[in-house]
């Protein structure tokens, strides 16, 4: 309705024109009548008639013109509102599109064949940290980092080479502030009316996805690297098809070429024949019980070398992949070798210290052999006298011979025990009674105890379960602890020197305690006692406790020291008890 005042004024001007035309006609007739030559009645009448007629005609005309102008006005008005409506609609949709174009979270660019930005939406510019004006007329390469410019250029070229075809790619862009973002671009070259080709580009920010992808790729890379470094591969086991899905490292460990999956039967062939049955037993049980499992075994490689591996697997319920177990397998060959070497070094060291300890015990051992020997000689003499009697007393003689045999054996046992300790004993774990081991050691140190005036109190719990252990090694542990105890009580003169050896048990382990009332442990030394070469003795080597700890550790136990409430120290070690009997 904006035009209405204008229409109204136009109608007024029209009426005013017609009115003034009629007036002008009337005026002209009047003037002609007054000033005309010889007015006569008839012409006068005619003039008046004409005047009236012209007046009437002008009134009619005015009415007619007014009516038609009103009609036209209405017509014009109708036409104008339709036009307005169309314009309105057009304007609305254009605004909408503009709106969409400007604020759609998609970056739009329009570049010409040289790569000059012809158009860019606000969102697109803003995403790159620019205003629209800052980009218009500039080379689009401005928003690409140096290393992407080549790609960007060739992308545009590709589009121009295939006008009308949509292309898409992922590329990195750089913001005004130097930060980068990843985008996915859809582009298409079109020809403008003037036949100029331009490229339309829509791009979306995919930085987050790209980062996630990169992170994933990186973590996969790290994982692979970590697997390689740790010699640990991963695997999945599809029990149904008896297939294994392996990581690269797993393939490397087993020495097979990389493949999407591998048949378990193939893998089993690589397991060392001596370990194969055991491995199959373990996996069969794990499968039937649907339980996690863990085992170590050897691989016999095609070149004849042997690898030690350790595998752990976790039972999973993953119906989508059909995988029943996932796990990790480590190549522990190097560790095994190091362990063996360490073990050998430790064993020879232990051997040296055993021999040293025995040197200290020489007098004690001599006494231990001498006692039964004295008994044997004496009994033999007695036997002779029983036989020399008239008549010979055979009953006494026989009893005496029995004693001789017993004592002879006893001397032999002592020698054997000493020899065992002197020997480079190999690791031989058998089920043994810890109390027996203690008594064997005591028999060697008896004299040492006596000469140092040490009272030994044994509190050995009966009915202890067996332990799976190397007898000689345990003897060495107890021997070291006892000798340390005796040595610690050496300076004690104001109280009885008492050494207590106690055994006890709980559900899972047996404990051996050696308690003395000697000089005790200085708190600052508590941590260092078990270090190799730590000693406070002028002639000590400082190896005793360190060896004890490694032996106990190798038996799955723990050795610890504590200060007594009263004077002295207590050393205790535990060993897992072997309730099931044989291994």
């Amino acid at each position: 309705m904006m035009r209405n005042p204008a229409i109204r004024s136009w109608r007024a001007a029209e009426q005013w024109l017609l009115g003034s035309m009629a007036l002008a006609l009337g005026a002209a007739a009047g003037i002609w009548l007054l000033l005309g030559p010889a007015p006569t009645t008839t012409p006068y009448f005619i003039a008046i008639t004409l005047l009236v007629a012209s007046l009437a005609a002008s009134v009619i005309m005015m009415g007619l013109v007014g009516r038609s102008s009103r009609q036209m006005e209405a017509l014009l008005q109708g036409r104008a509102s339709a036009e307005a409506r169309a314009i309105e609609t057009l304007r609305n949709s254009e605004a909408q599109w503009k709106e969409v174009f400007e604020h759609n979270p998609v970056m739009y660019f329009m570049v010409d064949a040289t790569g000059t930005v012809l158009s860019v939406n606000t969102f697109g510019a803003a995403q790159l940290g620019y205003s629209v004006d800052e980009l218009l007329g500039q080379s689009v390469l401005k928003v690409f980092p140096a290393e992407e410019r080549q790609t960007a250029q060739s992308n545009v070229a590709v589009c121009l080479g295939n006008i009308g075809r949509t292309h898409s790619w992922e590329i990195c862009k750089i913001r005004k502030d130097g930060s980068t973002l990843w985008v996915r671009e859809n582009a298409k070259a079109v020809r403008l009316m003037n036949d100029q080709p331009i490229v339309l580009i829509a791009c979306e920010d995919i930085t987050e996805r790209k980062q996630a992808e990169n992170a994933l790729r990186q973590s996969e890379m790290y994982l692979a690297e970590a697997q390689r470094l740790s010699h640990t591969g991963s695997f999945g086991w599809r029990a149904g098809s008896d297939e294994l899905i392996w990581s690269e490292e797993t393939f490397r460990i087993f020495g097979f070429d990389k493949a999407p999956s591998i048949k378990r039967a193939t893998v089993i062939q690589r397991i060392h024949p001596d370990d194969r049955a055991r491995v199959l037993r373990t996996t069969k049980r794990a499968l039937s019980e649907w339980k996690d499992f863990e085992h170590g075994y050897r691989l016999l490689m095609p070149d004849g070398s042997v690898k030690h591996v350790h595998a752990r697997a976790h039972a999973v319920k993953d119906t989508s992949s059909g995988i029943d177990f996932v796990g990790a397998v480590s190549d522990v060959t190097a560790r095994k070798r190091a362990e063996v070497e360490l073990h050998e070094a430790q064993a020879s060291l232990a051997h040296v210290t055993r021999v040293t300890a025995l040197g200290e015990l020489a007098a004690s051992i001599a006494h231990e052999v001498n006692q039964p020997l004295a008994a044997v000689v004496t009994n033999a003499a007695a036997c002779q006298r029983w036989l020399d009697r008239e008549p010979p007393d055979l009953k006494e003689a026989r009893a005496t011979v029995e004693s001789i045999i017993r004592d002879g054996n006893r001397a032999g046992e002592v020698i054997q025990r000493v020899r065992a300790l002197v020997n480079k004993a190999t690791d031989q774990k058998t089920a043994i009674h810890i109390n027996d081991v203690i008594n064997e050691v005591i028999s060697l140190v008896q004299h040492q105890l006596l000469s140092h005036q040490v009272m030994l109190r044994l509190e050995l719990s009966p009915d202890l379960p067996l332990v799976l252990a190397d007898r000689i090694q345990l003897q060495q542990v107890i021997l070291n602890l006892v000798i340390n105890g005796i040595e610690a009580m050496q300076p004690v003169t104001d109280r009885p020197r008492e050494l207590v050896i106690r055994t006890c048990q709980d559900e899972t382990q047996i404990m051996v305690t050696v308690k003395d009332c000697g000089v005790g442990l200085a708190t600052e030394n508590l941590e260092r006692l078990f270090e190799a070469f730590f000693t406070t003795k002028p002639r000590g080597m400082g190896m005793g406790l360190s060896i004890c700890r490694s032996i106990v550790g190798a038996h799955g136990g723990r050795l610890s020291a504590s200060a007594n409430a009263g004077p002295g120290a207590t050393f205790q070690f535990s060993l897992p008890s072997n309730q099931e009997g044989a291994p």
Binding site: A366, A374, T378, N379, A382, T400, R406, L450
Partner: protein, 223 residues
């Protein structure tokens, strides 16, 4: 030296000698007992000095075979302990290797012998025989002395005085002057003394006085 050793109950009163053995090693104890039994000697074995002291020692010639290294109390300490308790029993020490210094100490403290384990049976038996003989003698001496003491106890104070002076070699006249009595009175005292002490002669009485540790001083009246 025939036949089996009698049962302990009869032995306790018999004059048969006893060998005591103390060794913490049962084999050695047993072997020694066996050896002694095989020669008809009665033997009693103990695992420790303490056990030995628990038993009432019979009043017969005896000896003690002791391991010089004993648990708790060493053989040497035990030897000293016995001496302190006025138990005089001949001790034969058994030693191991390298116990020389101890052996020397033991001998100085009055051990009769020592044998190194393992020892020859004959050496042991000889040592035991000698020790028992020695104990028998000292027991006899002790018996004589005890007898003398008993006799001496029957003397009056005046007679004891006179005995001391007589055995110191004084003449009757001198004694009379010394104690201020008549010479005849001294003679009478002398007769009583000889009779009461069952002395056969003056030298016999002198020996007795020596054993009893009586000197002329004890005969003098206290001033």
């Amino acid at each position: 030296m025939t036949g089996r050793p009698a049962s302990p109950s009869t032995l306790a009163t018999a004059e048969e000698p006893v060998v005591f053995v103390i060794d913490d090693d049962p084999s050695v104890r047993e072997a020694l007992s066996n050896l002694f039994r095989s020669v008809g000697l009665r033997a009693e074995a103990f695992g420790s000095a303490h056990e030995f002291l628990q038993c009432k020692l019979p009043n017969v010639p005896s000896c003690l075979i002791l391991d010089i290294r004993l648990p708790r109390v060493s053989g040497l300490d035990f030897q000293a302990e016995l001496a302190k308790a006025d138990i005089h029993i001949p001790i034969i020490f058994m030693t191991g290797h390298g116990d020389i210094p101890m052996t020397v100490r033991a001998m100085k403290a009055g051990a009769v012998d020592f044998l190194t384990k393992p020892f020859r049976d004959q050496d042991m038996l000889d040592a035991v025989t000698a020790a028992i003989e020695r104990d028998r003698n000292s027991r006899d001496e002790a018996k004589v002395l005890a007898n003398l003491h008993a006799l001496f106890a029957t003397l009056t104070p005046r007679e004891r005085q006179v005995m001391a002076l007589v055995t110191a070699g004084l003449m009757n006249k001198q004694i009379a002057a010394e104690i201020g009595v008549a010479e005849i009175t001294v003679k009478i005292h002398r007769g009583h003394i000889m009779r009461k002490m069952a002395a056969k002669s003056l030298p016999d009485l002198v020996r007795m006085a020596e054993l009893l540790g009586i000197g002329p001083a004890s005969g003098r009246p206290q001033t």
